[in-house]
């Protein structure tokens, strides 16, 4: 399941909604990304996160389907927020549900790598005096 939304989310509620559908899940690996107080050695006030929403859905669906197939997952959940996000707020959640842990770990890292590389989101990071558009480093590819 893919959700692209402005509002915050509750980890317990979002995860239980998926978990409750399947009794064969033994393992869940999840990743949460947060807005950090310091980046590029500057104090961050907030992010303005822009999204190309129609394309983000398509790209994340593609990544999700490839991952489910490659690792035989039972289910996945990706939530990505956009808009104004203040320091300490959650930005993204990726969950990989599977029978065994090894698959779920590998799959979750795989989704995050491709999300960082291809999903059309852009962070405009606001400091106390100026702002800067970020770019994900692609050293892992």
């Amino acid at each position: 399941m893919i959700k692209i939304q402005k509002k915050n989310f509750n980890l317990e509620e979002e995860i239980e909604k998926i978990k409750n559908k399947h009794s064969d899940i033994g393992a869940l690996t999840s990743f949460v990304g947060y807005v950090r107080d310091l980046n590029n050695n500057k104090d961050v006030k907030y992010l303005n996160l822009e999204v190309y929403e129609e394309m983000a859905f398509k790209e994340l669906s593609k990544i999700e389907n490839n991952t489910i197939k490659k690792w035989g997952l039972i289910d996945t959940l990706i939530i990505h927020r956009y808009g104004k996000l203040i320091v300490n707020e959650k930005i993204v959640l990726v969950c990989c549900f599977s029978q065994h842990r090894k698959n779920s770990f590998e799959a979750c890292e795989f989704i995050m790598d491709y999300l960082k590389k291809d999903a059309p989101f852009w962070k405009n990071e606001f400091y106390y005096k100026d702002n800067e558009w970020l770019e994900n480093s692609s050293y892992r590819f």
């Binding site: 989101f121 852009w122 994900n136």
Partner: protein, 81 residues
Amino acid sequence: MRIRYFAWIKDITNKEDEIIDINHPKTIQELKKYLEHLYPGLKKHFLQDVLRFAVNQEYVSENLNLKPIDEVAIFPPVSGG
């Protein structure tokens, strides 16, 4: 053909999107030529080859044939997650 701009590309074009409907460019290469003319500030970024292009919400190579009904998006490297 609808062209959409994201992130700091919008600061160069001063708009989020626009419609190009007469003599539309036939390839991304032709579109780049056309936009360079309209927005000289884009030229150096095209030359550095850092921007990414999507047609109908899919990443594309520059040789793809463009159709009048296509939605073309131009944006810098992403920074989600």
